[in-house]
Symmetry: C2
Amino acid sequence: MNGAESLVRTLLACGVDTCFANPGTSEMHFVAALDRVAGMRCVLGLFEGVVTGAADGYARIAGRPAATLLHLGPGLANGLANLHNAKRAASPIVNIVGEHASFHLKFDAPLTSDIEGVARPMSHWVRTSRAASTVARDGAEAVAAARSTPGQIATLILPADTAWTDADGMAHLPAPAVPSQVDEAVVRDVAALLRRREAPLLLLGGDALTESNLVTAAAIAAVCDAKLMTTTYVRHLPRGAGRVAVPRLPYPVAQALQALAPYRSIVLIGAPPPVSFFGYPNSPSELQPDDCHIQPLAQPGGNVTDALLRLADLLQADQRSVQLQAPDRPSPPRGPLSPDGIGRALAAALPDNAIVVDEAITTGRGFYAATAGAAPHSWLGNLGGSIGFGTPVGTGAAVAAPDRKVFCLEGDGSFLYTPQSLWTQARENLDVTTIVFANRSYNILKGELAMVGAGNPGRRALDMLELDRPAIDIAGLARSFGVPARQVGSLDELNLALDHAVASDGPKLIEVLL
Amino acid sequence: MNGAESLVRTLLACGVDTCFANPGTSEMHFVAALDRVAGMRCVLGLFEGVVTGAADGYARIAGRPAATLLHLGPGLANGLANLHNAKRAASPIVNIVGEHASFHLKFDAPLTSDIEGVARPMSHWVRTSRAASTVARDGAEAVAAARSTPGQIATLILPADTAWTDADGMAHLPAPAVPSQVDEAVVRDVAALLRRREAPLLLLGGDALTESNLVTAAAIAAVCDAKLMTTTYVRHLPRGAGRVAVPRLPYPVAQALQALAPYRSIVLIGAPPPVSFFGYPNSPSELQPDDCHIQPLAQPGGNVTDALLRLADLLQADQRSVQLQAPDRPSPPRGPLSPDGIGRALAAALPDNAIVVDEAITTGRGFYAATAGAAPHSWLGNLGGSIGFGTPVGTGAAVAAPDRKVFCLEGDGSFLYTPQSLWTQARENLDVTTIVFANRSYNILKGELAMVGAGNPGRRALDMLELDRPAIDIAGLARSFGVPARQVGSLDELNLALDHAVASDGPKLIEVLL
């Protein structure tokens, strides 16, 4: 068995059985090993941003890492933006990046680059295999690194000769690191704070956002007159009818300040402190009131679930007291398109157990609130802020959950970074409905231009924010990749398109002409 | 004037009047400054790989740098692959990358990343501006770094507050570094080698490939019984009827070894030593024969033009003796599509002074030879080997030379990394004809699989190399971006499409159905 085969067998033994790939010459032995080793599902992407984003979506739904297969430094570079998003979401991913054969590196051939340097800014763990005999062990350690708490981006660089040289065999997953237990003193301090019943806020993120943890948090809130809120963007949030309803911290700074204004204390549970997305000349970076005390329950890497349960015990919080969201499915709205109407149309149409990937930016700002009482579903948001995130993540989510329907809510600007996702969806017949809100501009930037104090844009500045010259036929773009698509110009048409999407399997795209 | 305006004015003063842009919040002040400062042509791209590739193409044709405007670490990351190609081509580029306001960085907001770390592997020069008062000087030094010999990638990172804070004014370009003169001893040694008339090879690349340098090299070759050859890929090569005809080093290792087998000595003139693109288990990395002596005339950064002229003087080489390529324009071929036929169709159709960007990989391997006697044209190749190169580079070349027709020769696999280029071409009404050779596979990888000794691929390996499930409607994809497109299935249809492209202005795409 050569090094490549030892790696494929090791990945499988470590529970990694899905690989999103855009391979080149230096990865051909890994590709060839797929013929000799059964069990690895390899999913091809036309562009590496699709590959890494799909691995992120897969990890969020499957709860375990997929591998990616990427070609040298530039291939990895094309995947970095979505690795950044995945890193911020603590999604576990194992990147396998081919490198020139070790004897070839000194010749500085055209594709030579500092791959470790490319990897480092968007990876927690980086290693170059030194020999075929270490590839299996390196691979197992990469999986272990990815499966840390919180999840990590592990990048293993594989010189071609370590792939084609004989190896000793496969390796097994090292004993996983156990998440550290939160100190009893920390839990007691938080309990003491909450017992004062000064209407604190529990700001929830990351591992706190499981269905059972949300119930625990809601029970704590009920017994202490606390409120719940999630971070603006969430890795994975189970919500809708029958789940705990939690508002989220708004994106616009003015609204976020207003949302946090009532609180003198905020307990962070799996969430970082609330800060604005960007720094602005006339707004604070920190969003809590000046006199607000911020107290973390668990640091990153801590066992949030355990800490929440212990806190609930100390406070004698009773999960049976928790009020769950009642179904609130509106009837399909009629008439002209509006953000509100679209939100209601979504709430009306979402089927049970759907996965919603949210990259709808400006048009979609109200969709979260509008769908609070929709059928139970998972909500996936972009914690890293790099756009081109939604359709790749939806692709990977659909690979992880073939029995669930995926809805990607996309701004047109965002969608156009990684439209190649659609081809992978067609190729794998994934049940993903992409809904693109075509306002034909980088609409968010018009607001940002004002926020940074850049005044009223003139013709040349506005020209950098408009996507209407020429208008892009997004439905036609989808069809060119093999995905059926339709354009809708009213809520009635949108309802029909959504009904069709719910009733039939396979990928499709709805272009909403705003 | 704020920092952003001081930078725009400085760039203009330093001769940088074109900016390829995909901006976000942190770059809004730069965008706003465009309204207050006339003279900067700002060209929008939907994806950063388009932006950086366009800057590469622009630099190759204009002979001076454009700026790029990129959003934070992930935006820069999306542009790295084509920066890698530009770096390998020694194309001068000035990247302006927005960063969070300096006071905001410590809060680790979602889009925070190590931008200098992202920049470094694909940049020669990296700097973060520390204050609004230094932005102008930093910008001038970035331009100076880019305009070094050879050209460099300079990345200037601009914290948002340095853009919006008041600055002192603009800066001017520092005195440019003069290329170092090649030592007289080196020139004399090369002259002595050539005087032995042992039928040496002059391997030409980079700065040696100007029209006048090629004539000088050809005169030297004539007087010393030497042969000329270019590197496999070239930054910019003037060729065709009335120019010096130079064969190129083949890509396939076996052919490259055969091409170099006759030579006992190789003089490198602006070219690196000949090495194979990848390392293979049963092939050498170095392509020259074992007993071949390699002698450089000029090191990178040296003045190649001057060294060539001095060498010609020493050898009493007479430029009047040089034989230039006779016109050899075939009549348009008829019948079914074949690589040979397509090559002849191109040679027949190319108009005077066209720019050809070559990313046709397997289908296009013979196009270079086929077009040797075509109308005079410029040939641009990919020195970095990262695909997704051609249409961005063609876009930038067309911006630099609105009076020339650009032809991008593309494999379908390569084309699909950065198809968003077409929208920029439509928006700017650029005279670019993209010809996509649709074999619906990563055809080159089938050969590479054999070269690396991975044997005959089975079903699962082959599945990673095929793009036919579903077939992608590349003409439809082009139309969705606003570019007129047609499919051709015979040489006769191809001839008609090429005639149409030559006769009319503006972007178009021809999908060649192989």
